[in-house]
């Protein structure tokens, strides 16, 4: 009885009419908002992680404390993180708290991959560049970072997929995005909204994963030739 009863109270799982009626006004803006939240967070996190990662790769003693702090941030459950952030003066309820949290979650993966990418650059290559008369700055920007790029992009990929999922919870503190459809669906007992939000968020994560993987492969031409 339980299951049938529930489906009756909730109506059909998907009302296609609702989707077509609300596509332009509700669904598309939610998707755009979600993409904005995720992209802005990864961009800000990258701007923090690149210099920190370069620093930690240069001074290995800094690596342990940096990963300890960012690892701690990464462990804090998102709803708890939001709960703490909205009490901080200057942040409050809304997209700002969500972006701060999403940035915090990205740091560990991004910094780890920046350091791993730089560490993997062969010392001979750096020596050769130095022998050619390049300055340290030139070596960093035209030798080390380009060689580390595929590993850095791999980090961006993991961070982006993680963040797209966590961003849905941000809707609870008025961050907007696809999570709003899921929460509204729960409150109204309207499965169509839950499913639309969930499917789009999952699809977004998979599309981001696959396209960043393609970028990663393109940046690694030597790996492609080896496989062929």
């Amino acid at each position: 009885m339980g299951r049938m009863h529930l489906l009756q109270t909730y109506g059909p799982l998907i009302e296609w009419d609702w989707i077509s009626e609300n596509f332009v006004e509700d669904i598309l803006p939610a998707l755009q908002g979600h993409i904005f939240l995720s992209a802005a967070s990864v961009a800000i996190a990258l701007a923090i992680s690149l210099p920190l990662g370069i620093f930690a790769a240069r001074y290995p003693t800094a690596y342990a404390p940096v990963t300890f702090v960012t690892g701690l941030l990464y462990t804090i459950p998102s709803l708890a993180m939001f709960g703490i952030l909205i009490t901080v003066p200057g942040i409050g309820i809304g997209p700002r708290a969500v972006i701060v949290a999403l940035v915090a979650y990205s740091l560990l993966v991004l910094i780890r991959n920046v350091v791993a990418g730089l560490d993997a650059v062969p010392p001979e290559t750096v020596d050769a560049a130095r022998g050619m008369g390049l300055t340290s700055r030139q070596i960093l920007f035209s030798v080390e970072l380009p060689l580390a790029l595929p590993v850095i992009v791999a980090g961006i990929r993991i961070a982006t997929v993680t963040i797209i999922g966590i961003a849905t919870i941000g809707a609870y503190i008025a961050g907007g995005g696809l999570g709003k459809m899921i929460f509204d669906g729960i409150n109204r007992g309207f499965p169509t909204m839950i499913i639309t939000g969930a499917v789009l968020a999952t699809a977004l994560a998979i599309v981001a994963d696959v396209s960043l993987l393609a970028v990663e492969r393109r940046l690694r031409p030597w790996a492609r030739t080896r496989r062929a």
């Binding site: 462990t75 804090i76 669906g185």
Partner: protein
């Protein structure tokens, strides 16, 4: 600070904490009981392992709140739907890690064992499984931390647990309740990370520790 601690003295606090812990422990145990045998079953069939890993990857892309919310139209509100949703969430990381861990034990090592006259069962129990152990436990650790975090969301489908304090704090604009809930959940997640990190180390065979040090 005092106000935050007062919240932990409320009569319903132990109950919420208990619900949270039970949800996590039970769903994690069920997930282990499903994912590990599955990974073992497909360990010698590359296709099966690939399928298992890909199902795991897609499963990980589904947001946790979505899995909990989707339990609603099928199972309704309450503890049991939350438990089921959390179990579904906990399976992918364990499945992925157990499958890859077992598959990536190097062929040379297994061949060497075979050459020494070990039977297939012995190779599995003495070589393959111990070498894969740290990777398997890393998967369980990922799931454990994720389940502690997602159990917070159980409150949205009536599963109780510590998320209720966050919801109450927000609705009543009560910072002390909000922070008491948030900090307790954060500490619980950190505790899970430390406990399972310790287990991961404890289950790493001595030989692997030595091999890693040499690197």
């Amino acid at each position: 600070m005092g106000e935050i601690l007062d919240v932990t003295q409320r009569p319903n606090f132990p109950e919420l904490l208990w619900t949270h812990v039970v949800l996590c422990v039970v769903s994690l145990l069920i997930a282990i009981a499903i994912a590990i045998p599955l990974a073992l079953a497909v360990r010698d069939t590359p296709l099966g392992a690939t399928i298992a890993i890909n199902i795991g990857n897609v499963g990980r892309a589904v947001p946790s709140i979505a899995i909990l919310a989707l339990a609603l139209p099928f199972l309704g509100y309450g503890f049991a739907p939350s438990l089921l949703a959390l179990t579904l969430l906990a399976i992918p990381p364990i499945l992925i890690n157990a499958s890859t861990g077992l598959r990536e034990v190097s062929r040379e090592v297994m061949d060497a064992a075979r050459g020494m006259g070990l039977s297939e069962t012995q190779i599995f129990s003495r070589i393959q499984l111990p070498i894969a152990m740290p990777v398997i436990f890393a998967g369980i650790r990922t799931s454990a931390v994720q389940v502690v975090a997602s159990a917070t969301l159980a409150t949205f489908i009536g599963g109780g647990a510590l998320g209720e304090l966050i919801v109450e704090g927000l609705q009543r604009d009560d910072t002390a309740v909000l922070l008491a809930g948030s900090f307790t959940i954060a500490l619980l997640a950190i505790a899970a990370e430390l406990i399972f990190g310790g287990l991961e180390r404890a289950f790493t065979p001595k030989g692997l520790h030595l091999a890693r040090k040499k690197k």
